[in-house]
């Protein structure tokens, strides 16, 4: 390692980070080379964001060292990281919408004059200078709420630049950007590189990575599984390492479903894009597809492709713009979740903690939530039914009266599937069915879903993981920027074709899309 030392600006050596239930990073060594775009690739849950949070001082590693220019540093807070010249632009932007650009650039580190007064002129001047360095001059008194996502990202980059960042971490910066906005971000990255800034770039988007990256590191399940320079990297090289083509064919043989009746017919489903904050929704354009009884349909797509929006629309938690949903020959008018449940459509949400579990309640109460009937609860009947389902779904709990928070991620997920099954649905929707679930429990969830499908349940799931999509789905739809860009049956599916269909093209090669862009420049 010492022979390469002159080139390495930042090294994370043998970093280990554990969370209750899982090891997020397992002795990961990551090197960032000076004045290069260092790409970090991996699927959801591979540990990319955790590693970056450690570099940026947001979280502390359990074991391992950070070395800056070869000497060990301690980074215990974002402030300390900034002092070392390490800054991060988070995946979820942290711009404050009620403040203007220059206030945002100096939020938390305001310049003062006369000891107590904010020095607005100096702040504005330096903000303007930073934006100019990024070749993106904007009126610095514009409220952040009025900026497009792309411009907010630029404002954040300007903030890090003004802080004297030598190392800039960009976490999935393009996931919510339109093509033109992404293109102008790439311009900014090239400029920063020229200005002597080292970039650490995280993304799933293959085209973009091959276009920008100089050095590549691939993470899978908390381990580094590949490291190479641009010249040695090909699309295939990345995909193979990311998906780890191994040992997953044993989920269960598939039941032929070609002759089964069509259960769900979706025609022309559309949704308008809206919002720019955490409530932002990606647009959907004219989606049409069908789903048979007993079939498992996977919807693969990158972040921001509209996967979650599609499921929430079917589950009634998001009103649609246009389109028809026909279930079992009947056209549905779903205006809320209760309507969808009544029609037989249930959803296991992506974010268990935020949208699924009631932490104060027991496992039993969580499973039976929403399917209580009559005026009085029947504890005996409920316990019986919950116990039956818990057995069927292998929920490993000593006692169903324990708080649901006592379960591991995998078992919490199974409890939410059990909650859905309490309603005897005909269509089960799952958004990222194994997010935050360890590898063993993952396979178990797949087996359970296969078993449920074999009994005639139609399953629609979305995933941003290639391996999961390949393992679980009978048929795959690929979503790219709100459109179905490809459809594969399980036997014609290859990792590369899947990934290619999901990746939006880099550069403005799609003039047809420019009408819907809202870049400001």
């Amino acid at each position: 390692m010492s022979d390469a030392a002159p080139d390495i600006v930042l090294e994370a050596r043998a970093i280990t980070k554990r969370y209750p239930g899982t090891i997020a990073l397992d002795r990961v060594t990551f090197r960032a080379y000076r004045n290069q775009v260092n790409v970090l690739i991996g699927e959801n849950g591979a540990g990319k964001s955790t590693l970056m949070r450690i570099l940026a001082g947001v979280e502390a590693a359990d074991e391992g060292d950070l070395l800056l220019d070869g000497s060990p540093i301690s980074v215990r807070s974002p402030r300390e990281a900034a002092a070392h010249g390490i800054s991060i632009v988070h995946q979820e932007l942290s711009t404050l919408p009620n403040l203007d650009i220059s206030e945002n650039i100096f939020a938390g580190r305001e310049l003062v004059k006369a000891a107590i007064l904010v020095d607005r002129p100096l702040q504005d001047f330096r903000s303007d200078a930073a934006l100019r360095r990024l070749r993106k001059p904007m009126p610095v008194r514009t409220p952040a709420a009025q900026l497009s996502l792309g411009c907010r990202q630029i404002a954040e980059a300007a903030r890090t630049l003004d802080q004297g960042a030598r190392i800039l971490i960009l976490d999935e910066p393009t996931s919510a950007l339109s093509t033109a906005e992404a293109d102008s971000l790439f311009q900014v990255i090239a400029d920063l590189k020229r200005a002597g800034v080292t970039i650490i770039y995280i993304s799933h988007r293959l085209n973009e990575l091959l276009h920008l990256g100089d050095c590549f590191t691939v993470l899978r399940s908390g381990r580094v599984v590949g490291e190479a320079l641009r010249a040695e990297v090909s699309r295939q090289w990345i995909v193979e390492r990311m998906s780890g083509n191994a040992g997953t064919g044993d989920v269960q043989s598939r039941v032929p479903i070609a002759g089964a009746p069509e259960l769900l017919v979706v025609k022309g489903l559309s949704l308008a894009a809206s919002g720019t904050d955490e409530a932002a929704q990606a647009p959907l354009h004219d989606l049409s597809f069908t789903l048979r009884r007993g079939e498992i349909l996977g919807v693969y797509g990158l972040l921001g492709a509209g996967r979650t929006e599609l499921l929430e629309l079917l589950a009634g938690s998001r009103p649609s713009l246009a389109g028809q949903i026909i279930l079992g020959g009947k056209q549905l008018h779903i205006s809320n979740v209760a309507d969808a449940v009544k029609a037989g459509i249930v959803l296991v949400p992506e974010d268990r903690q935020r949208d699924g579990l009631i932490p104060e309640m027991s496992i039993r109460e969580n499973i039976s939530l929403g399917s209580e009937k009559g005026f009085f609860l029947s504890r005996a009947r409920e316990t019986l039914r919950v116990r039956e389902l818990a057995g069927e779904l292998n929920i490993a709990a000593r006692d169903l009266e324990l708080p649901v928070t006592a379960l591991s991620g995998g078992n919490q997920q199974k409890a939410l599937i059990a909650r859905c099954m309490m309603r005897s649905p005909s269509l089960l929707l799952l958004d990222e069915p194994t997010r935050g679930v360890d590898a063993v429990a993952k396979l178990e969830v797949y087996r359970i879903l296969r078993r449920l499908a074999a009994k005639g349940l139609a399953i629609l799931f979305t995933s941003s993981e290639i391996e999961e999509t390949r393992t679980l789905a009978d048929r795959v739809l690929v979503l790219c920027q709100g459109r179905i860009s490809a459809e594969f049956s399980s036997n014609e599916l290859t990792d590369e074709s899947l990934f290619a269909a999901a990746s939006p093209a880099v550069s403005s090669a799609h003039p047809s899309q420019s009408s819907e862009l809202h870049a400001h420049d």
């Binding site: 239930g21 969808a340 009559g374 000593r398």
Partner: protein
């Protein structure tokens, strides 16, 4: 795999039982404090534990307990109802107006019977609850603001009814056929004041609903995680609406009971009662964030506050010191509540793994 458990060592296992004991004491703190106060006051004031005093005490407690019982559901959903004191005032004034002024009807004045007057008063307060529920559940107004608004509206309405004056002599006139209102607050059943019976019945009903009905479970679910509750198909607005209706109806009963006890309806009745009710709920261990707590806790909380203030009066503690002591008790209770939930979260893995076989 025992991945979700932090496996405790031998010494941790020994610590487990003391942690359990500590958590039990913390959880039962309201009862312990109540017992402590009862022992303390009966030792210091010989007349404290007499039948007569306990009867007066229970009547006082009934007032704040009924409000607290009604408030519990609202707080469990993560809301708050500041309007209960005013609603109590309005309820009493509506009944007072009907009993003393009557209703002008076709040129002459008609005096409705006591039962009708009570029902109309309840209906008016029900409407305030409906407004609260609509504002919070449908219009999306923050509960604090919505019920602060109705606090003023209801108080203003109560003052308008009499132009700020008191309606005296609610005993009724035999000729008008509207006697008997005083029974509500002053009569006894099996030697126990009627308001106490009302408190007990309400407690039974609300506790039953909380523990044994889908509605009760949905109240907890909405408070625990509103997004998850909505995504589970629970009609969240409906659940919230019901909680505000329950709260307003309980407040109306309190107003009627007070008017009946005093044989007069005063428009300022119930001022700052909402604070007592909230204090009782919080003392009883219900989290203002929602999702955690119980109706039984609120009842005990009301007893703690009632015993404390009556006991201090009997000991001759000055009114000003009483306020200081009451405030201290409330703040301590909430601080201990925080301590308890932190300890519970911290020791949960130990408590779970205390028994030998672990989940796979």
């Amino acid at each position: 795999m025992t991945e979700h458990l932090i496996s405790p060592g031998r010494s941790d296992r020994l610590a487990t039982s003391s942690v359990r004991a500590l958590l039990f004491l913390l959880r039962a703190r309201a009862v312990l404090v109540l017992l402590l106060l009862l022992i303390l006051f009966s030792a210091l004031a010989p007349s404290f534990l007499t039948a007569n005093n306990l009867s007066i005490l229970s009547k006082h407690v009934a007032i704040s307990a009924i409000l607290a019982i009604g408030m519990t559901f609202v707080v469990l959903t993560g809301g708050i109802d500041l309007s209960v004191g005013s609603v109590a005032g309005l309820g009493g004034m509506v009944a007072g107006y009907l009993l003393t002024q009557g209703l002008p009807f076709g040129g002459s004045v008609h005096y409705p019977g006591v039962l009708v007057a009570i029902l109309i008063a309840l209906a008016v307060c029900f409407a305030v609850g409906l407004l609260n529920g609509w504002l919070v559940a449908k219009a999306g107004v923050a509960p604090f603001i919505a019920t602060l608004g109705t606090l003023y509206i209801a108080r203003g309405a109560a003052l308008l009814l009499s132009n700020g004056k008191t309606f005296p002599n609610l005993g009724g006139v035999a000729v008008r056929g509207n006697t008997g209102f005083t029974l509500l607050g002053q009569s006894f059943l099996l030697g126990i004041p009627l308001p106490v019976w009302i408190m007990l019945v309400l407690f039974g009903v609300v506790a039953l609903v909380a523990a044994k009905t889908p509605l009760g479970r949905h109240v907890y679910a909405v408070g625990g995680n509103e997004r998850a509750a909505r995504l589970a198909g629970i009609r969240v607005p409906r659940v919230k609406l019901v909680t505000y209706l329950v709260s307003s109806l309980c407040a109306a009963l309190v107003g009627l009971i007070i008017a009946s006890q005093l044989e007069a309806a005063h428009p300022a009745t119930g001022e700052s009662f909402e604070l007592n009710a909230i204090a009782a709920v919080v003392l009883g261990g219900t989290s203002l964030m929602g999702g955690r707590g119980s109706v039984t806790g609120s009842l005990i909380g009301a007893f703690v506050i009632g015993v404390l203030s009556d006991g201090l009066v009997m000991l001759g503690v000055s009114e000003f010191w009483q306020m200081v002591i009451k405030g201290t008790v409330i703040v301590l209770a909430v601080a201990i509540d925080q301590l308890q939930s932190r300890l519970q979260a911290k020791f949960l893995p130990y408590l779970l793994s205390a028994s030998p076989e672990d989940a796979q």
